[in-house]
């Protein structure tokens, strides 16, 4: 019947792995690639800080004779009030800011997702109980909550990390829950039940991948918030303890000299902004790359 009809060229069946096609889609988004590059540079800086700068000699040791030196060939970002090299402090500061930021999000995303997924998927009483608890947490401002937790646990980088993570959990629980609610009513979920998929499999294989978009965006945004929260806690003296270099605390230490030596505030500020920006770009890019519907 259709002897003349089929002029379709049959392409070769090539099996592209999921990861390869995600990368392919990601590469098409130039801004996302730029974001990834910036972020890799920052990570590189944090990982290889020892090779880039001298921790004991430049980042920690005070040298009052060298204080407030403007950026020059020797000190490309200048020196601060105690004569420490700002470049070295920024490089080592990346370690704290990035690692705390990312680990915090990993932790709160995992815990928040489990809670949100359970609430969204099972609904009813489970949903009510879990979400009311989360509401209590949400009712307290995030930073205030972190302060309370640190006050209870005591200071220290690790304890700060825990405080910040707990403060972020309710947000993720809410977002994961609503994302799951929007997917769970769809017929392909019912189909999965019809062939006997377990609840965990349905959540992991069918619901989460389809609810990913808003979660990823929120996660990257939250890394930014977390870095800012570390800054604030350090500023209050309950975060990173001096003399450990950290971008936020560097800014707060120098804020009194903003008028005379603006570079002391702007340089760490620019690094915070770069981190936040690159993460947002990566987040947007990932959201699109993970969605096969946006292939073109």
């Amino acid at each position: 019947m259709e002897h003349i009809a089929q002029t379709v060229v049959v392409p070769k069946i090539k099996k592209k792995s999921q990861l390869a096609s995600i990368l392919h889609r990601y590469r098409k988004n130039r801004l996302a690639v730029l974001g990834l590059l910036i972020f890799l540079v920052l990570v590189f800086m944090a990982v290889f800080a020892n090779f880039i700068a001298d921790y004991d000699g430049q980042a920690i040791t005070q040298n009052v004779r060298n204080r407030y030196m403007a950026p020059s060939a020797e000190h490309i970002f200048g020196t601060d009030a105690l004569g420490r090299d700002v470049f070295a402090r920024v490089v080592f500061g990346a370690r704290i800011s990035l690692s705390v930021g990312i680990v915090t999000i990993m932790f709160s995303l995992t815990v928040g997702s489990v809670i949100g997924a359970a609430a969204g998927y099972y609904g009813g009483k489970v949903d009510n109980t879990l979400m009311r608890i989360m509401d209590v947490f949400l009712a307290i401002p995030q930073t205030l909550m972190a302060i309370c937790i640190v006050a209870a646990l005591g200071t220290g980088t690790f304890k700060m990390l825990i405080a910040l993570s707990i403060a972020q959990v309710p947000q993720f629980a809410r977002i994961v829950r609503s994302a799951i609610l929007s997917v769970k009513g769809q017929e392909f979920i019912e189909a999965a039940k019809a062939y006997g998929s377990s609840d965990v499999r349905i959540i992991l294989r069918h619901i989460i991948p389809n609810a990913m978009g808003p979660i990823i965006v929120q996660a990257t945004l939250s890394v930014a918030t977390t870095i800012l929260n570390i800054t604030m806690l350090s500023f209050l003296g309950i975060g990173v303890q001096a003399p450990t270099p950290e971008w936020g605390s560097m800014m707060s230490e120098a804020k009194g000299q903003l008028r005379n030596f603006p570079y002391l505030v702007t340089i760490p500020g620019i690094f915070i902004a770069l981190t936040v920006l690159s993460l947002n770009l990566i987040g947007d890019g990932l959201r699109d790359a993970l969605d096969p519907r946006l292939k073109n």
Binding site: M1, E2, I4, A5, Q6, T7, N296
Partner: protein, 329 residues
């Protein structure tokens, strides 16, 4: 009959495209069509045939950023729709020509009572009417579509689907337009409700003398309500004629024949349906020659190269090479 009655709408050689950065969709291609006073024209076709695009072109409501009328002219009586400004067009919409959309659930504003939504139409177009006159007209039009005027203070959510569609029709008819474009008005309704609405629309047409273009994919609805029928495929009218021409005889476009063959027949017992093989052509990359040729069981060599013209037999047009000879008679 075409020579006697007055022409209300005339479309000549219309081309409409949707253009985005990546692609161009050829939605309506070289389409000519007339609607006469008082008649109902059925516009039949599958998804993507360009039916709705055609209606939106007549209303000049194509999506601003992408939709564009490339060439051709639309005349609504003496008004040259294609050449008119948006401001002039706004005055025409509702008063000369109205449109009913498929989904009654989303065509009504949920936060206003339905009486107010009908009154709004009158306020816009009949500025000379007093408040009392408008109220009176609202009552009148509601009665016409079979809703008690007591309910004009009710909100859309208090009505069922069929009742909502009646309200939508009431709004469209409030200013007694000359032409009503009904885009699948009963597709979202249950059969018994569809029967009610169709019956009402037929009665209204007889009472008010409104002309109508009824867009549908249901040939059963066409048989019940239309005077003339146009079958659309890939943005073209492949066959057009009186409803008797379309449903009888064997002077038909192969697509029309196939369309009838693919509907399960209630009156006859058939073992297998005659499905049309293949898919609708990609509107961004239409086939050369006749657009139906890749699916056509009677495809000839010429069909792949040359687009057929419309062969006319006493007002019954078929766009197919099979009848090219007949056209010369």
């Amino acid at each position: 009959m075409s020579s006697v009655t007055e022409r209300l709408l005339e479309i000549q050689n219309l081309d409409v495209i949707y253009k985005t950065d990546e692609e161009t969709v050829y939605a309506v291609n070289d389409l000519s069509l007339s609607v006469y006073k008082g008649e109902t024209l059925g516009l039949v076709g599958e998804t993507g045939a360009g039916k709705t695009t055609l209606a939106l072109s007549i209303m000049k409501l194509l999506p601003e950023r992408t939709g564009r009328i490339l060439k051709g002219a639309i005349h609504l009586q003496e008004f040259p729709v294609t050449a008119m400004s948006e401001a002039d067009m706004r005055a025409l919409r509702g008063e000369m020509v109205s449109m009913i959309f498929q989904d009654p659930m989303t065509s009504l504003n949920p936060i206003h009572p339905i009486g107010m939504q009908i009154a709004e139409m009158l306020l816009l177009h009949k500025k000379q009417l007093s408040k009392a006159q408008i109220e009176e007209r609202v009552d009148q039009i509601l009665t016409l579509v079979g809703i008690s005027p007591d309910r004009k203070g009710d909100f859309p959510h208090q009505f069922s689907g069929g009742m909502k569609q009646r309200v939508v029709i009431a709004i469209a008819l409030a200013c007694e337009p000359q032409l009503l474009l009904a885009d699948e008005p009963t597709t979202a309704l249950d059969v018994t409700i569809q029967a009610q609405v169709l019956q009402m629309m037929k009665r209204l047409k007889d009472d008010l003398g409104t002309s109508m273009i009824l867009i549908t994919h249901d040939l059963g609805v066409v048989a019940r309500t239309c005077d003339r029928v146009a079958i659309m495929y890939a943005g073209e009218i492949v066959e057009m004629g009186r409803v008797e021409d379309l449903f009888q005889g064997d002077y038909h476009h192969p697509y029309t024949t196939a369309l009838f063959g693919s509907i399960p027949n209630l009156t006859k017992k058939t073992k297998r349906l005659q499905a049309i093989e293949g898919l609708m052509p990609d509107p961004t990359n239409l086939p050369a020659g006749c657009k139906f040729h890749p699916r056509c069981p009677r495809c000839m060599e010429i069909c792949q190269k040359e687009a057929p013209g419309a062969a006319d037999r006493k007002g019954h047009q078929v766009r197919c090479h099979l009848y090219a000879e007949a056209a010369k008679d």
